[in-house]
Amino acid sequence: MATILICDDDFMMLRTIEHRLKIEGHEVLLSKDGQEASRLLQAQSGRVNLIITDLLMPFMSGLELINLIRVQYQLPIPIIVLSKVGNEDTILQAFELGADDYLTKPFSPNELSIRVKKQLIRR
């Protein structure tokens, strides 16, 4: 099992993803925006195995967070974007910045589980 950092500013969505991942035995860290996720990443260095992030959040967006992780921190941690934004431009931008996968909300819980497993196997 793995340690997964979730970043989403919506409480219900954050708790729902957390609940789902805990059922599958993962340890979960929660952050409500990119800044908090960044602080957690610095504090928990080396412990986070996967990041699941929303895109539209206050203070620091998901795209900014991905850029920070890949460019400034140079971390190879797998990143799954989980967002309601489903337009092609945003999806391409997320992948170009270094996202490894992209799921749109509302998401299938089984699909999330499979995509999480796939990313964890790759690490």
């Binding site: 969505m13 909300k105 819980p109």
Partner: protein
């Protein structure tokens, strides 16, 4: 839940793997906080702040999907499109009112079906 319930918890039950206490926590949170989102939507509509309205609707739509307010969720998609593209803005007040009516009806029914301490 009867056929006419203005909400549908199938998705939330699926996400939570049938954990009733978790479903109750989400229902309680939704019933306690939906009013704030609705008030903000009304306020931003009055101010014609379409960008901010789109952001609030975008976030609230995820909760509508979780609680299974399908009609309101579909209306929110329409509202996001209109506020992003600035087309048909005259429809916004009616669409916001429609979401409010659906949500308020659901909150009343959820509070009856799943009583919790406020």
């Amino acid at each position: 839940m009867d056929q006419k319930a203005p909400y549908d918890l199938q998705y939330l039950n699926e996400l939570s793997a049938g954990d009733h206490s978790f479903v109750l926590e989400m229902i309680k949170h939704f019933c306690s906080n939906a009013g704030d989102s609705l008030d903000r939507m009304n306020d931003l509509t009055t101010k014609q702040d379409w960008g901010s309205l789109r952001e609030v609707v975008h976030k609230f739509a995820s909760n509508l999907n979780l609680i299974g307010l399908h009609e309101a969720a579909a209306t929110s998609v329409r509202l996001e499109y209109i506020t992003e593209n600035r087309e048909g803005l005259d429809q916004v007040p009616d669409l916001v009112a429609g979401i409010r009516a659906s949500v308020e009806m659901a909150v009343v029914k959820l509070s009856e079906d799943y009583p919790f301490e406020k």
